[in-house]
Structures are given as C-alpha cells and as structure tokens.
C-alpha cells in the first residue's frame, strides 16, 4: 500500500484533478465500477493526500476540498447503519459512485471516438474538390462557430501586439492620493478609516489594492509632516486616521 501510494504520488501531477485520481484508484480496485468499495476508495485517496502533505507537495485547493469532503464521508460511513447520518452518507457515496461511472463512460466514449476512421488520419477526402459555383454570392458563409473563432483570433492577435509595449499604468499614484487625502482631511472631524479616502471608481481588485497602498503611503507622508495622526488597534486591523489638531497641541 505504501509503495503504491508513493508511486501514485510521483504521478500526482499527471492527474487531471481529484476525480481523475479517484477513478484511477477505483479501477485498480475492481473492473466493475458498480461494485467498488467507496470506503476503501476514500481511505486510499486520503492516504495519497497525507503523503503529499508529508513531503510538502503543494496541492491545489480542489484536491484539499475533495479530501475534506471525503473525510466527512468516511466518518459518516463508519456510523452504525440505520441512523439518519449514515443514510445521508450512503446517498452521498452512491452519488460519488455514479459520478465516477459517468466519467469512466465518457473516457470510454473518447476512446471509442479515437477508434473511428478519422478523416485526415485514417481516411482522406478528395484533396482537390472542384467548385462549380457561378459566383452566386447571394448568401454569406458565416456561422456562429466561425464568428467565435474569429473573436478569439482577434483578441489573441491584440494581446500579442500589446505585449511589446507595456500598457499605460492607470493605478492610483501616491501623488494622486496625497492630493485627495489633503483635500478630504479637513471635512472629517474624527477618526476615519483609510478606506474612506480611496477614489470612488475602482475596477479590478488590483486597482483597489494599489489605491490602498498609495493612500497609506500618502498618510505616512502627511503624518511625518505633522498634518495627521495614524492609528491601528490590532495587526491587520483597520487603519484609522485623523487630522492633527494644530492649535491644541
């Protein structure tokens, strides 16, 4: 078992996801997918994931999500039969078995398709078809798939040319943030969160994070000049700021 697990680990990157691995384990168990033991399967999967963790193999989230779900399933499958929780687990196990069966069938269908006399591989159509069209250009030969292909081709070409010149930076700069912070500071009487000083229209998360960083830097700058105070109650907590009261001291 340990050896088998190690062998699997070596190939873990070759699997197309948790379901792919489960199917492989199931195949090793029995030829007939209808008769596999889901409990054994769950244990094997969890063993593989544990070994992967032991050697600190980085696993994508979906592997761990499946592991967590299977651990839940295992705990329920071990309950005495008859209880509501055990029944729930049995149904979940059946659903999993059905999913594996469906995937296995689709694998078989892909193999079957591969055995067909493929055009351009096994059989060949006429290499030089003749056209007898009297240039009857009444209709356009354009359909939706062709439109989709054209769209992807257009986008790809655009991305290819753009890669040669860096896109203009539209990120919120420290200078922008200084201006906005200085202008807004007077209007806020008490401690306010840093978030409130961000520009209104921010699209992508990247832009938001950049604006947050610029605004913090601008805040530090103004604090150094003695124009405002910064406060943070806890690590990673909200950052608060307030105008420095120049007269009171």
């Amino acid at each position: 078992m340990a050896e088998a697990t190690e062998a699997l680990l070596l190939r873990l990157e070759g699997f197309e996801g948790p379901l792919d691995l489960l199917l492989d384990l199931a195949r090793a168990q029995k030829l007939d997918l209808a008769a596999i033991s889901i409990l054994a399967l769950v244990e094997q999967y969890l063993a593989v994931i544990d070994s992967a963790r032991a050697i600190r193999l980085e696993l994508a989230a979906d592997w761990l999500v499946m592991a967590a779900w299977l651990a839940w399933l295992k705990s329920r499958l071990l309950l005495p039969a008859g209880s509501e929780a055990a029944e729930e687990a049995e149904i979940a196990a059946e659903v999993l078995a059905a999913r594996l069966l469906d995937l296995e069938r689709m694998r078989a269908a892909a193999l079957w398709l591969g055995t067909r006399p493929l055009l351009g591989q096994v059989v060949f159509a006429r290499g030089a078809p003749e056209e007898f069209a009297e240039n009857e250009h009444a209709r356009l030969a354009a359909d939706l798939p062709a439109l989709m292909r054209a769209y992807l081709a257009g986008l790809r070409r655009g991305a290819a040319t753009r890669s040669y010149r860096p896109p203009p930076l539209t990120l919120w700069s420290v200078k922008d943030a200084l201006g906005r912070l200085a202008a807004l500071l007077g209007s806020l009487p008490d401690w306010s969160s840093l978030d409130q000083f961000l520009p209104d229209r921010l699209g992508a998360p990247l832009q938001r994070r950049a604006a947050l960083a610029s605004t913090l830097l601008a805040g530090l700058e103004l604090a150094r000049d003695g124009r405002l105070r910064l406060r943070q109650e806890a690590a990673f907590g909200p950052i608060l700021l307030r105008q420095e009261r120049v007269h009171g001291g």
Binding site: G17, A109, W112, L113, P117, Q121, R149, L152
Partner: protein, 177 residues
C-alpha cells in the same frame, strides 16, 4: 430506363466527387431527373466503389467519397496529416457529444477538472463544437453542442450512431468499419 439510371449514376458520381463536403440526399434529388430514386442511385454508387481504393461512405447525414481505411499507412507517407487531438480535448468532446446541449460548468463537473483555454480553442478551431444558445438560468450560461463537422471528422452518419451510454463499458471499444 437502364440508360436513365446509368446517366443518373454518372451525374451523382460527379457531384459527390466534386463536392468538398458530404452531399445530402436532398441535394442529389434536386439534380437528378424526376422519377429517379435517390436511394437506388446511392446504393448503386456504393456497390460500384465497394472494395476499391476510394469508397462511398455515409457521413453527417450525406454521402462522401473517402479513401479506404486500410490504405492509411501508405497514404500518410504522402498526404499531410494534422495532429491528433490531445486526451483532454477528446474527453471534453465526448462529454459534449453525449450531454449536449451542455454548459462549461457541467463539463467541468463531469470531468472533475477545469476546462483549459487550449482545449476550448482546439475544439472551436477544429470546428467540432459550436454554441447552442444559452440556458435560461441565472447567469444564462452558454450551451455547447457538436457540429456537422464532428460527424464528418469521426465518420458518423448521425449522433444516433454513437454507442449507447449503457453499452460503453460493456465491452472494450472495438473499431467499426
């Protein structure tokens, strides 16, 4: 009468030979003189080419001439052969063929893995799949299905020629034809 059938046979032969895509029986019927049965002409044409280097096959609901499969090894030495589809693309194609119309999320659910851009591009590029409208659920996801090009590529007369789902695992897939 025999003359008429012979003339119809010549004409059908020329038409199917000339066309770049499978010819539908209805297209043949438009060409042939009144009173000639298309099915009889197709059958006669198939008989005439049986066992030859080029054969008449039924694909994508029509008929097309194609080289005999047993000659492939020799022909591949002279005719340029495109690359085969990778495994992930073949599986995705099989799922679309059997579950169509199907959304991307459903394909990913069945495969238990994300659908990569390269796979989607390869199937679209080969014109094997096409959008089939949207599902009327929140988000209105795009539905995908196979194209007539899929039938042509895999030498299928229609989708009913795919093995039944229940039969897929019964015996190891054996090549037909």
């Amino acid at each position: 009468m025999a003359d008429e059938l012979a003339a119809a046979l010549r004409l059908a032969e020329a038409m199917v030979f000339a066309a770049a895509a499978p010819v539908l029986p209805r297209q043949l019927a438009q060409m042939l003189p009144e009173g000639v049965e298309v099915e009889a002409v197709i059958a006669a044409l198939r008989d005439r080419y049986a066992g030859r280097g080029v054969e008449l096959v039924e694909v994508a609901e029509g008929v097309q001439f194609r080289t005999a499969p047993d000659l492939a090894p020799m022909l591949r030495r002279v005719v340029q052969v495109p690359r085969r589809l990778p495994r992930a693309a073949m599986e995705t194609l099989a799922i679309i063929a059997y579950h169509q119309p199907v959304t991307r999320a459903e394909i990913e659910e069945i495969r238990g893995a994300a659908l990569s851009q390269a796979t989607l591009d390869a199937l679209l590029e080969a014109a094997l799949i096409a959008p089939r409208g949207r599902r009327e659920t929140p988000g209105r996801p795009t539905l995908w299905g196979t194209t007539p090009g899929f039938l042509e590529q895999f030498g299928l007369k229609d989708l009913r020629e795919l093995p039944r789902r229940e039969d897929l695992l019964v015996e190891p897939p054996a090549p037909q034809d």
